[in-house]
């Protein structure tokens, strides 16, 4: 047998690098979180699988005509997948709690503080303007928004930013409670809020996605793909006349695109580029963005509590992020550990739904300001 044939046979083993071995370990951690801990398994399993496939020696799934590269070019490079996912999210989201209590929409705005706070910190650390904005957008705590914005501003950071965004979304039940307890007193956590007690008509539910699209699309055109697709999905749901489309958007479409998106993102986690000091910095800045979001939401809710004469539970502020409905469930759980018969869940759901709208708006605003300035 010729030495060339032996080399060919051993190409896999000789092509193994320490970076790929580390990446297998990283993928193993993501799989552990997804399978054993049940943290965002829908995305972490495909992402980890994509990372394993991409880091195999001489992997034919990446590179020209590779399966994962085709998926990346088809849906991530041109921002198609995140936008399609938003249609599914819109079809699954009930904005009713927000419509019952419209002032909660402001908590969604407060929950975006981390984006801009971390943008400043990233600039101080020496990242470029576009990179800093992309890192800041992890603070939207919204995977598709992070992918959409960073894909346009800093595509080379897409891998670590997406992993940070989805990992922290998965860790909402771990990250939020200590911040909530640190910033609120026991008496504040025990505040019982009265239910809004208002029935939202079908007309309002239908007008909400249309009006929001028109408003945001006109004032911030950069946000149109995000807000427009989110509201399109919601209009399908609330119109109640296209149940097949609603079902397809929230099940088949969302599931298929989630799989493809996860695999394509995983394929960007190639050891040689992923294992850099900047990745660690991005992960650290991501968690800072998350913390700032929660803290700003709680502080703003405290102001609302003061303005309402002590009838507003500040814990609700922590739900003003986009991780829906996990953040609202965490608020309910923390409130109930103090007072078993306290049920702020619907108010928290309203703030959480506001966080979804606000994160897409913030993503669009950031794109407009940074890309518009030639970031």
């Amino acid at each position: 047998m010729s030495p060339g044939a032996i080399d060919q046979l051993l190409a896999g083993i000789t092509g193994l690098t320490w970076q790929s071995i580390v990446m297998f370990a990283v993928a193993g951690v993501l799989l552990y979180l997804a399978i054993a801990r049940d943290y965002e398994p829908l995305l972490l399993v495909p992402i980890a699988s994509g990372a394993i496939l991409a880091n195999l020696p001489l992997s034919p799934v990446v590179g020209e005509d590779g399966l994962l590269s085709i998926l990346y070019a088809a849906g991530v490079e041109n921002e198609l997948f995140p936008v399609l996912i938003f249609i599914g999210i819109g079809a699954m989201t009930d904005f009713g709690p927000l419509l019952e209590n419209p002032r909660l929409v402001l908590l969604g705005a407060a929950g975006q503080f981390g984006i801009f706070g971390v943008l400043l910190v990233a600039l101080l650390l020496g990242f470029t303007r576009a990179e800093s904005a992309s890192i800041g957008v992890i603070g939207a705590i919204d995977g598709p928004t992070s992918i959409y914005v960073s894909g346009q501003l800093a595509p080379h950071l897409l891998g670590p930013i997406t992993v940070a965004a989805y990992s922290y979304m998965a860790l909402v039940p771990v990250i939020l409670p200590p911040i909530m307890r640190a910033l609120t007193s026991q008496s504040e956590r025990r505040i019982r809020m009265q239910p809004a007690g208002r029935v939202v008509s079908r007309r309002t539910r239908i007008l909400f996605p249309i009006g929001t699209t028109l408003l945001v699309g006109t004032l911030v055109p950069f946000a149109t793909p995000l807000v427009g697709s989110l509201m399109l999905g919601n209009l399908l749901r609330e119109s109640q006349v296209v149940q097949r489309l609603t079902g397809a958007a929230s099940n088949e479409l969302a599931n298929v695109v989630t799989l493809f998106l996860g695999l394509a993102i995983g394929s960007t986690m190639i050891g040689t580029s992923f294992l850099a000091a900047s990745t660690l910095a991005i992960l650290a800045l991501g968690i800072l963005a998350f913390g700032l979001d929660a803290a700003a939401g709680i502080v703003f809710a405290k102001l609302l509590n003061r303005a309402s004469g002590g009838t507003f539970n500040p814990l609700i502020g922590a739900a003003g992020i986009s991780a829906f409905p996990m953040a609202a469930r965490v608020v309910q759980r923390v409130a109930q550990t103090e007072d078993f018969e306290n049920f702020p869940l619907m108010h928290a759901m309203g703030a959480n739904a506001a966080g979804q709208v606000a994160s897409t708006v913030a993503g669009g605003v950031l794109l407009a300001l940074v890309a518009g300035a030639g970031g």
């Binding site: 801009f116 943008l119 800093s132 408003l215």
Partner: protein, 118 residues
């Protein structure tokens, strides 16, 4: 320094825009809710139901009746949670008879495998 000034500008403008837009949305939603015919969630005890006392008894306030109903249902729920004998649906000794704790134990025994987390 230029970058930092840019960052401060983007942050101030960005947060201002997000707040402004959402405040405008709040205004629109509030206006929409004002234009809606006021429709409240139905009361638990609908008005107009006449509660009559038994002969020879004093009149009972509807709110008192509601309070008694809530107390009874809570008491039943508590007894059910305690798996009290009074709440048995099946005769003791039958296969169907078991408190929740016993039923949970049987279920665990009959499982051929157990997840690591449990």
């Amino acid at each position: 320094m230029d970058d930092l000034a840019f960052g401060v500008q983007v942050s101030a403008l960005g947060l201002g825009l997000v707040f402004g837009l959402l405040a405008f949305l709040w205004l629109l939603l509030t206006l929409a809710s004002r234009l809606e015919p006021r429709q409240r969630v139905a009361e638990v005890a609908p008005a107009g139901i006449e509660i009559r006392a038994a002969d020879g008894e004093a009149e009972i306030e509807p709110t008192l009746v509601a309070a008694i109903a809530v107390a009874v249902s809570q008491h039943v729920e508590l007894r059910r949670r305690q798996a009290a004998p009074a709440m048995r649906t099946y005769w003791p000794g039958s296969l169907m008879f078991a408190s929740r704790w016993v039923a949970a134990g049987r279920m665990r025994q009959s499982q051929s495998w157990r997840r690591r987390r449990s």
